[in-house]
C-alpha cells in the first residue's frame, strides 16, 4: 500500500540545515496497523507529514497504492489527500463552528457528494464510533475522547486507503486513550490500513508492527503480538 525508498528531508533553520530524515526505506501492506515510535526530534512527525502529502520530501520515492506521489501542485495534492488519506490529529482539529455531523461530512463535501447522501454517510460513521446521539453537537460540547472519535469518523468518512494518526492519544488520559485505541483496532480489523505515530510504549504495543525511528533513521522494524485495548475498556 505504501512504499518509500531513500527518503530524505532537511529543514533550513537560518544558516543551518537540519537533516531530519536520512534515507528511509520501508513499505506497508494493506490491512497493517503500524506504530511509528521515536522520541521527539526523531523525525516521526515529518515522516507522517510527507506520507500525508502535507509536506514534500527532498529526495526519494513515495508510492501510495501504486500511484507515485511526486511534484504535486496544491490542487492535486488536495485531491489525493481527499481520496487516499484520512487524518487523525493529536489536537483533534475539528472545525469549531460546525456540528459533529458536519465535521464528519466535510471530506464528502469536498468530493461534491450531494447533501443528503453526505449526511447519511456521516451519521453512519458517527454511529460506528458510538456518537450518533451527539451528531448535532458542536465540538466544544464534547469531551476529549468524543472529539477524537468524531475526528476518527471524519477520517473514515471518505473511505480512504490509509488512515494516518498523529499522536491520536497524546491529548487524552489513559482510559480514553484505550477507548480510542480500541476503536482504531476495530477499524483495522475491518481491513483498513492504519499508521499511528506515538511515543507511548503501551499504545505502540496495541499495533501489529512497530517501526522505531531515531535521529532520522529506522533503528528497528518488528512485528509484535497485538495487545487488545478492549481488555482495558469496561
Amino acid at each position: 500500500m505504501i512504499e518509500i525508498k531513500e527518503l530524505h528531508k532537511s529543514y533550513k533553520m537560518g544558516a543551518n540545515s537540519l537533516h531530519v530524515l536520512k534515507g528511509l526505506n520501508f513499505s506497508i501492506k494493506e490491512g497493517e496497523l503500524v506504530a511509528i515510535m521515536g522520541s521527539s526530534g526523531s523525525g516521526k512527525s515529518t515522516l507522517l507529514n510527507i506520507l500525508g502529502m502535507l509536506d514534500e520530501a527532498d529526495t526519494g520515492d513515495y508510492t501510495l497504492d501504486g500511484v507515485p506521489i511526486k511534484n504535486l501542485n496544491e490542487t492535486k495534492a488536495a485531491k489525493y489527500r481527499n481520496k487516499f488519506l484520512g487524518f487523525i490529529f493529536q489536537s483533534f482539529n475539528l472545525i469549531n463552528y460546525k456540528s459533529a455531523m458536519e465535521n464528519v461530512a466535510l471530506p464528502l463535501y469536498y468530493q461534491k457528494v450531494p447533501r443528503k447522501q453526505r449526511e447519511e454517510k456521516a451519521l453512519k460513521y458517527l454511529t460506528q464510533v458510538g456518537l450518533k446521539e451527539w451528531a448535532e453537537h458542536l465540538p466544544n460540547e464534547l469531551s476529549g475522547g468524543q472529539k477524537q472519535r468524531v475526528a476518527i469518523a471524519r477520517a473514515m468518512a471518505a473511505e480512504p486507503k490509509v488512515l494516518l494518526a498523529d499522536e491520536p492519544t497524546g491529548a487524552l488520559d489513559s482510559k480514553t486513550s484505550y477507548e480510542v485505541m480500541d476503536l482504531i483496532q476495530n477499524i483495522n480489523d475491518q481491513g483498513n490500513t492504519i499508521l499511528v505515530v506515538t511515543h507511548e510504549e503501551d499504545i505502540a504495543q496495541m499495533c501489529k508492527r512497530i517501526v522505531h525511528l531515531k535521529d532520522g533513521v529506522i533503528v528497528e522494524d518488528k512485528k509484535v503480538e497485538q495487545v487488545r485495548a478492549a481488555q482495558y475498556v469496561q
Partner: protein
C-alpha cells in the same frame, strides 16, 4: 456559487463575530451613503438652478448697440448708433441656422416714473414692442385672451398683452381686463391678453409687471421710426449661438460702419455661454461628489480587506484542516472572496437604501416647507445606483483578493501547526 453549504458557511463566519462584522460593514455603508448624498445634493442644486433658468430658450443671445470705440471709414470714435429694422433682415439673410430674431424696443424700466394710466389708476411698467416669436424665447403662459400675432404687426394694431401684476395694479379684483383700454404714455392700447410668467425667483414679481405691444405699433406710437433697441436671437438646436454670435455681430457692424475689431460697439449677453458655464459647474460638482464618495468608499473597502486578512489569520488552522481533508485551494479562495463581496454588497445596499430614505426625507421636508432658493428635488438616477452596485462588487472583489491569496499561500502543514 449558489451552493447552500457555501452560503451557510459565509453566514456562519460573518455572524460569528457580529460586532466586528457590523463595524467593518459600516465603513462601506458610510462610503456609499456619502456618495449617494453628495450626488443627490449636487442634483438638487442643479435642479434648483435649472428652475431659475426656467423655460427661457437657453440657446439665445441678447444684443444691443453702444458707442463705437474705434474710428472707421472716416467716422470718429465715440459715435452712437442704433440697430435698424433692416439689420434683422440682413442677419436673417447672411447668417444661417438662426431660429428666431426678435427686435425689441422698450419703454420705462425698473424704478421708472409712472407711464401707464387707466382711469384713476397709474403704474410704472416695462412696455415692450415685440414680435410674436418672443413668446418662444421668453416663455409665458397666456391665461386670458391671446398674444401678439402677425396681423397685429402688419396692421400696427394698438393692442397690449399685460402681465398679471399689471392687471392687479390697474384693475379691480375680478374685473375683466380684456376689451378695456390702457393709456401708455398718452396712447390708448386695447388689452387683448393677460399673461403669467413662471416664477423665476428674485425677479418673479417684476416679470409679471410687463406690457407687450406689437413692435410696429410701438415704433409708430412712440416715434421710434425704424430703430431697434435690442435683439433677442435664438439659434437652431444643434448650433450653439456662441459659435455664430461673431458672425451676427459682424453683420450689424458692417451695416453701421463699425470697425470689425471694435469689440465694445455691440454689447451682448450670451445666455448659452452662461448656461454652459453652469453646466460645467455641475459637471465639476458631480466629479467632486464621485471623487469624495469613492475615496470614502475606498477607506471602507480597505477596512473590509483588513478584517478579511484578520479573519484569514484567525482561521489559518481551520484552513489547514480543510486542506488536509482535501479541499481544493481554489474553493478556499472562492470562499474568502465571496465572504468579502457579500459583506461589501450587503453593507453597500444598506447604504444605498438609507441614502434613498434620507433623500426621501429631505424631499418631504422641502415639499412641506415650500421651495428653497437654488435647491429642488435632490435625487439620484437608477444609473447611479447600478453604477454604485458595480463599484461595490468590484471593490468587494479587490477587498477579498489579498486575503484570499494569503489564505492559500500558507502551506497546510504550517497552517496546522498554528495554535
Amino acid at each position: 456559487m449558489f451552493n447552500k453549504d457555501r452560503w451557510k458557511e459565509i453566514l456562519e463566519v460573518l455572524t460569528g463575530n457580529w460586532f466586528r462584522t457590523v463595524l467593518t460593514a459600516f465603513g462601506v455603508f458610510w462610503g456609499i451613503f456619502i456618495l449617494i448624498i453628495l450626488l443627490s445634493a449636487g442634483k438638487g442644486l442643479e435642479n434648483g438652478i435649472m428652475q431659475d433658468f426656467g423655460d427661457i430658450a437657453t440657446n439665445t443671445m441678447f444684443m444691443w448697440s453702444r458707442a463705437t470705440t474705434k474710428a472707421y471709414k472716416g467716422l470718429p470714435k465715440g459715435r452712437s448708433f442704433l440697430f435698424k429694422t433692416e439689420d434683422v433682415q440682413a442677419i436673417r439673410d447672411k447668417v444661417p441656422n438662426l431660429r428666431f430674431i426678435s427686435p425689441r424696443n422698450q419703454l420705462g424700466g425698473f424704478g421708472g416714473a409712472n407711464n401707464v394710466v387707466r382711469g384713476l389708476r397709474t403704474g410704472a411698467y416695462n412696455v415692450y414692442g415685440d414680435y410674436p416669436e418672443i413668446i418662444k424665447q421668453d416663455p409665458m403662459s397666456i391665461i386670458d385672451g391671446r398674444f401678439i400675432n402677425y396681423s397685429d404687426i402688419n396692421e400696427k394694431r394698438k393692442i397690449a398683452i399685460i402681465g398679471e401684476g399689471v392687471k392687479n395694479g390697474l384693475y379691480d379684483k375680478g374685473e375683466d381686463a380684456l376689451g378695456t383700454y390702457i393709456k401708455i404714455q398718452g396712447v390708448n392700447f386695447l388689452v387683448v391678453g393677460v399673461y403669467k410668467k413662471k416664477s423665476n425667483d428674485g425677479d418673479g414679481e417684476e416679470g409679471q409687471k410687463q406690457i407687450f405691444v406689437p413692435f410696429t405699433s410701438f415704433s409708430q406710437a412712440f416715434n421710434r421710426g425704424t430703430d431697434v433697441g435690442w435683439m433677442a436671437i435664438t439659434a437652431n438646436d444643434g448650433t450653439s449661438i456662441t459659435s455664430i454670435k461673431n458672425n451676427i455681430m459682424g453683420v450689424v457692424k458692417e451695416n453701421h460702419k463699425v470697425h470689425p475689431d471694435d469689440q465694445r460697439a455691440v454689447g451682448h449677453f450670451d445666455l448659452y455661454e452662461q448656461f454652459q458655464r453652469v453646466q460645467s459647474l455641475f459637471g465639476a460638482l458631480r466629479f467632486v461628489a464621485y471623487f469624495v464618495g469613492i475615496l470614502v468608499l475606498l477607506s471602507g473597502v480597505i477596512g473590509v480587506s483588513n478584517i478579511m486578512l484578520i479573519v484569514v489569520k484567525e482561521r489559518t488552522k481551520e484552513i489547514g484542516i480543510r486542506r488536509a481533508l482535501g479541499e481544493d485551494p481554489w474553493s478556499i479562495k472562492l470562499q474568502i472572496l465571496m465572504e468579502s463581496i457579500f459583506l461589501t454588497i450587503i453593507s453597500g445596499m444598506a447604504g444605498i437604501t438609507l441614502g434613498a430614505l434620507f433623500i426621501y426625507g429631505i424631499n418631504t421636508l422641502l415639499d412641506m416647507n415650500g421651495p428653497v432658493d437654488m435647491f429642488a428635488n435632490p435625487s439620484v438616477g437608477l444609473g447611479v445606483v447600478i453604477g454604485a452596485l458595480a463599484i461595490l462588487i468590484i471593490s468587494g472583489l479587490f477587498a477579498g483578493f489579498i486575503p484570499a491569496q494569503s489564505a492559500i499561500k500558507v502551506r497546510p502543514i504550517d497552517a496546522l501547526r498554528t495554535e
